[in-house]
């Protein structure tokens, strides 16, 4: 069996999410990757070196430049007959393109898989991750998006795939046109999509003390969040709130400072990859979910943390 992965790339670099999709595909058979865009020679080169990739299909044309769904889906439909599985990372592009291609192939896509059981069977979260469904597809061909956090990214080096050119589709009639992008440029990443989030709770005592978190967030490139208690007390604005009635986040690293870990707060961050808790109460429920817990007074721990991070980096 052979699987085709639509490879995400940005600024000339293959995204880690795309390499996670390669890992998922490798569980299904031989992996070919499709690199699309305009002037993507270097990216295609890089793709040949991803561990586990046997062939790189390169579709180098202006119409693929902005990764619009309409031409990309058409391309996938053309290539799909040679494959049993067509995958992409569940990124904005993958989620945009895969279902469209699936409909054109008369296939029910399988979104955001978190595990591969066998060639027909996959596990995917439903109800915002509150349940995991194991589904089997009866379609002849499977179209899949992959939740990157659940698959280790395939190594960027170590492969030696060959490159094959793919003819570009026709540019007409274009029903959609790219206008512009506006990447968020604020100093702090967006809470919902940040790789690292540091949140403060009622233990912070006031808004002023959140300044203790700022240099640490700067050092880690982290977004700052808060518990409802901290928001309600007016320490920080509303949109900082993480939890059941705030934002749901799942960063690689979540640091909870002076937060007790009420279930309503956990509901917003329990899917984080690594959770760190700093709390002076050793019995605080947050420690039941923390990978690393530090029982300490935060007013002592935060300056130390700042110093420690400055030290080695």
């Amino acid at each position: 069996m052979t699987a085709l992965v639509l490879l995400d790339h940005a600024d000339g670099r293959i995204t880690p999410a795309a390499r996670s999709a390669v890992t998922a595909a490798a569980a299904l058979g031989e992996v070919h990757v499709l690199v699309t865009g305009a002037a993507i020679g270097a990216v295609a080169e890089a793709a040949t070196r991803i561990a586990g990739v046997a062939k790189v299909l390169r579709a180098d044309a202006e119409i693929y430049d902005k990764a619009l769904a309409e031409p990309l889906a058409a391309l996938l439909v053309r290539l799909a007959p040679a494959y049993d599985h067509v995958l992409a990372a569940a990124t904005a592009t993958g989620k945009n393109v895969i279902p469209r291609a699936a409909a054109l192939l008369d296939v029910q896509p399988i979104s955001e898989i978190v595990a591969v059981v066998d060639a027909e069977t996959f596990v995917r979260p439903i109800y915002a991750g509150n349940a995991l469904a194991t589904v089997r597809s009866t379609d002849a061909r499977k179209l899949i998006t992959v939740r990157a956090a659940n698959f280790d990214a395939a190594a960027a080096e170590g492969g030696s795939a060959t490159i094959e050119e793919v003819e570009a589709g026709e540019a007409t009639p274009a029903v959609s046109r790219f206008v512009s992008t506006e990447l968020s440029t604020s100093d702090r990443p967006d809470l919902a999509s940040a790789r690292v989030v540091i949140s403060g709770g009622r233990g912070m005592q006031n808004g002023e003390n959140f300044k203790l978190i700022e240099p640490i967030a700067d050092a880690l490139g982290a977004a700052i969040g808060a518990s409802r208690a901290a928001v309600d007390a007016g320490y920080v604005p509303n949109d900082y709130q993480v939890g059941q009635t705030g934002k749901i986040v799942a960063p690689d690293l979540y640091v909870a400072i002076g937060i007790s870990g009420a279930i309503q707060h956990l509901a917003g961050m329990k899917d984080s990859k690594v959770i760190v808790a700093i709390n002076k109460d050793a019995e605080a429920p947050i420690f039941q979910v923390a990978d690393y817990g530090l029982v300490a007074d935060l007013f002592a721990a935060l300056p130390e943390l700042q110093a420690e991070l400055a030290k080695a980096s």
Binding site: R228, A229, A262, I263, Q264, E283, Q288
Partner: protein, 551 residues
Amino acid sequence: MSAVSEREAMEFDVVVVGAGPAGLAAAIRLKQLAPDATVCVVEKGSEVGAHILSGAVIETRALDELIPDWRKRGAPLNTPATEDRMLFLTETRSYRVPMLGTVMPHMSNHGNYIVSLGEVCRWLGGQAEALGVEIYPGFAAAELLDEDGRIAGVATGDMGVTREGERGPNFAPGMELRATYTLFGEGCRGSLAKQLMARFDLRQGVDPQTYGLGIKELWEIPASKHRPGLVQHSFGWPLDRATYGGSWLYHFGENLVSYGFVVGLDYANTWLSPFDEMQRLKTHPSVRQHLEGGKRLSYGARALSEGGLQSVPRLSFPGGALLGDSAGFLNVPKIKGTHTAMKSGMLAAEAVADALANGRPAEPRSYTRRVRQSWLWTELRDVRNVRPSFAKFGTLGGALYSGFDAMVLRGRAPWTMRHRHADNEVLDSAAGSPPIAYPRPDNKLTFDRLSSVYLSNTNHEENQPVHLRLRDPQRWRSVNWDLYRSPESRYCPAAVYEAVDTEAGDANGPRLQINAQNCVHCKTCDIKDPTQNIDWATPEGGGGPNYPGGM
């Protein structure tokens, strides 16, 4: 704040406030008697049943009268009560009350059904709609339309008002629901019923209402342990002998167990926490053996009226009437109020149908007469002394008295015991109350408040005025804190109230943090606050718990 001038209005013959058993029975009966009457029901829960919290073992007497073929129509009464147990608990042991049917005939459940009252209400709602009743869940009756000396209907609350009380971008004014008669079936401690009692002096000459707080959990247990039809009640431990209360535990449905605990809100010890009492009771072998190995599915709480007949107010007033638990029609020793609520709703509907057909007098007066002539009255009369005897003689004395009352006097004692004090008047100061140490939750059998509230599915749109108001904000510090050390942070089953900055001891604290979003609408704070300083008002419609099927 309310946008009186822009409000739209709609006319009905009858508006019913609250889609509980009382309100729905009234609506159904009305349509049966007067099919052409226009009947509208408003319900503050997001759907019918969303705010209904009960045990519940129910008697079918009223239902039999209202919808005789309820079985054929698929009413969700599926588990007949088959086995009755009444336990007296000490810390480690339990004693079964023998000959229950004789000693405590009101505790006998033969012929009754264990149900999810929320499901029963959803079904009743369907029956009502099939008869042409218009039901609007998600809208709270927030205001009485008081015109020319009578109630001319209600208005629903404005939506989209910000926390500061200003109009937000999605502001939508409330609506006036005008009616010849408005029936109030808000359940225990209705927020409009409270205003009506004051407005028309309905409580004149009756005892103060007394209340209990019921806290409930729904469990799913291993099939091997499940004994559908088992009804178990307990009294005694963990409450002290001066405090009225006890637990229930019912096996029903598909491996479901309804477990809960009622505490009389006339308790005195300010350190008492009804929530923690109900948690620790689960560690008693007589409860633990049922729940162990199971999974908790849902949680909720609701106050119930325990005053009985002595506390029933005047029932009608110009423009309407009080129904069900809003009037206090609960049979306390039986802890059953569903059949009485339904019956009162039906009787009010009969009075109203009669009034509609006969010149539409301002007040549907025949309601009171109909109640007095019905089994509802006799039933409540016969048990009127049971609850007060507990207040008077304590747990064991009360139990003895009620046995005596039931066996010897058969409820016909020539005396009636009074409720002398309202529940808020009897709290002891912090200094005068013995502290109570509650165990920490184990997260398997026992849990903390917040993870419990989580399972009530409660929520309130954050950006709205706080629906729990302190009439005098200063008084919290001088009375609730200085004297009682914040009893609300213990009796509120939803962790709405938190005393924060308790160490400060200056202008910054201690102060009261009100997490209104957590509220499960049990109404306890409105009842128990020592100086009645907390006023519970209806929040934006649809807010509050979302009790699932099974609750």
